[in-house]
């Protein structure tokens, strides 16, 4: 699969069944039914959308799997055509359009404790995606716990891996209005943290809103 597979969508936002803006630093959780299409728009550009999917039928046992997705397509980056594969080997969603071209799934989500390790011990009070994930699952009715916060997708994030074994967080390749769109292959729960990271370029040092759009 090519590293970037740019493709625009024919779907028009005015025909959507749901549109919602998620401000920077907030979480969003929603059920997406099989056959529905889900788009995340990087409204102002260079924003990271840390995303997890759970099977609605069995959220505790079946969730998005970063390594099964990468190994399944033989490539570490996500783009148009990528099936987002579960820990049980099932396609949960398929990316059907992508105007950004490359999305990360190895870098994981920021957390208070990881910020301490990565930047400075006194960074612990800074807001993080894993705070959002933990808050969301505690408030949700699905019986999820911290053990279900697994390795996630970072839509719009550029985390190149080198043949020599390097990995780095680089300036975003996304831009204002770029989007990624996916078709649900099963009923799923989407959990998104609009990343509040201020210590690295994943949100361009300026976290901004995302728009969530769902079509039947």
């Amino acid at each position: 699969m090519p590293a970037m597979n740019l493709k625009e969508s024919p779907l028009r936002p005015e025909n959507a069944v749901h549109r919602e803006t998620v401000p920077a630093g907030e979480w969003w959780m929603a059920e997406i039914r099989k056959g529905q299409t889900f788009r995340i728009v990087d409204v102002e550009g260079n924003e990271a959308a840390d995303t997890l999917f759970y099977s609605l039928d069995d959220p505790q046992e079946e969730h998005y799997s970063a390594v099964d997705t990468a190994r399944g397509q033989g490539n570490v980056y996500l783009t148009t055509g990528t099936p987002l594969v579960s820990n049980k080997g099932n396609a949960m969603l398929t990316i059907t359009a992508d105007t950004c071209g490359r999305h990360d799934t190895l870098g994981g989500a920021c957390s208070a404790e990881a910020n301490q390790m990565r930047y400075a011990l006194d960074k612990k009070p800074m807001h993080s995606c894993r705070d959002n994930f933990l808050h969301a699952i505690q408030e949700s009715p699905y019986g999820l716990s911290k053990r279900d916060v697994v390795s996630n997708i970072n839509f719009f994030m550029n985390v190149p891996v080198t043949p020599a074994g390097g990995l780095s967080f680089q300036d975003g390749i996304s831009g204002p209005g770029k989007y990624v769109e996916m078709r649900a292959e099963m009923d799923v729960i989407a959990l998104v943290s609009n990343c509040p990271q201020l210590n690295n370029p994943c949100s361009g040092f300026n976290p901004t809103p995302l728009e969530m759009i769902i079509w039947d």
Partner: protein, 245 residues
């Protein structure tokens, strides 16, 4: 690079895990677990948990992004999701261990190697990584929700400039070893099923020899702790977690 001998008085336990089997034990702070790839064809797939709070566990993403790596070798640490060091890799005669390949499951093994049931093959039957992890995790009250992405020691997977994944067969060698110094008490759950990207069709996952020995005192010049500022901060967090011992 040869493996450094360990004085016999420091060794507290040795054991072997055959191919396609499992093992688990809490490695205590102050001790080191040495894994040896006896025949040069092992996949020592390892997960680590805090035995007092197993919700804290080895975290692939934090380990990679914290050290700017997509492979593990000497000088690297295995970080938990709580910003702490579980293990430091203090010695390594291989140079690359795979943190991104994941594990095999029953369907993958059947597709790549065919079927070999217990009924016909007795204890030579084919087993997969998921099955072995689930069995061993169950003994600690853990389950599929705790089966996160492991480190596959003695295995190599690279990504090229376009992100395409490549599996490197025959990467290890007979007698290759890696030493994991426990920085906190860590429950190790280890399996030895084939790597999910190994091409097949011959099913012969290799055995892993285990040695547990008393670690040398950690000095101010410790290579792993000073390999990167992230490592030093993770180690500082680990000292806080152990400050009342």
């Amino acid at each position: 690079m040869p493996t450094t001998p360990v004085a016999s008085e420091r060794i507290v336990h040795t054991e072997s895990v055959p191919g396609a089997r499992y093992w688990s034990l809490v490695i205590k702070r102050g001790y080191t677990l040495r894994l040896t790839d006896r025949d040069g064809c092992a996949n020592a797939s390892l997960l680590g948990y805090n035995p007092r709070n197993p919700l804290e566990r080895y975290n692939m993403a934090d380990t990679l992004k914290g050290q700017h790596i997509s492979r593990l070798t000497r000088g690297n640490m295995l970080f938990s999701d709580m910003g702490r060091a579980l293990f430091s890799i203090i010695e390594d005669t291989v140079g690359w261990h795979d943190p991104i390949g994941g594990i095999s499951d029953a369907a993958l093994i059947r597709e790549r190697y065919g079927e070999a049931r217990f009924q016909e093959h007795w204890n030579d039957f084919y087993r997969d990584g998921r099955e072995l992890f689930l069995i061993e995790l169950a003994k600690w009250g853990l389950g599929s929700r705790d089966l996160v992405i492991p480190v596959n020691f003695f295995q190599k997977v690279t990504a090229d400039d376009d992100g395409n994944l490549h599996y490197h067969g025959n990467h290890s060698h007979p007698g290759a070893s890696v030493d994991l110094r426990a920085e906190s008490d860590t429950l190790v759950v280890l399996t030895t099923a084939p790597h999910p990207m190994a091409p097949g069709p011959d099913y012969h996952p290799g055995p892993v020899d285990l040695m547990i020995y008393r670690s040398a005192p950690v000095t101010d010049q410790d290579f792993c702790i000073h390999n990167a500022p992230e490592n030093a901060r993770a180690y500082a967090n680990t000292l806080i977690a152990n400050c009342q011992e």
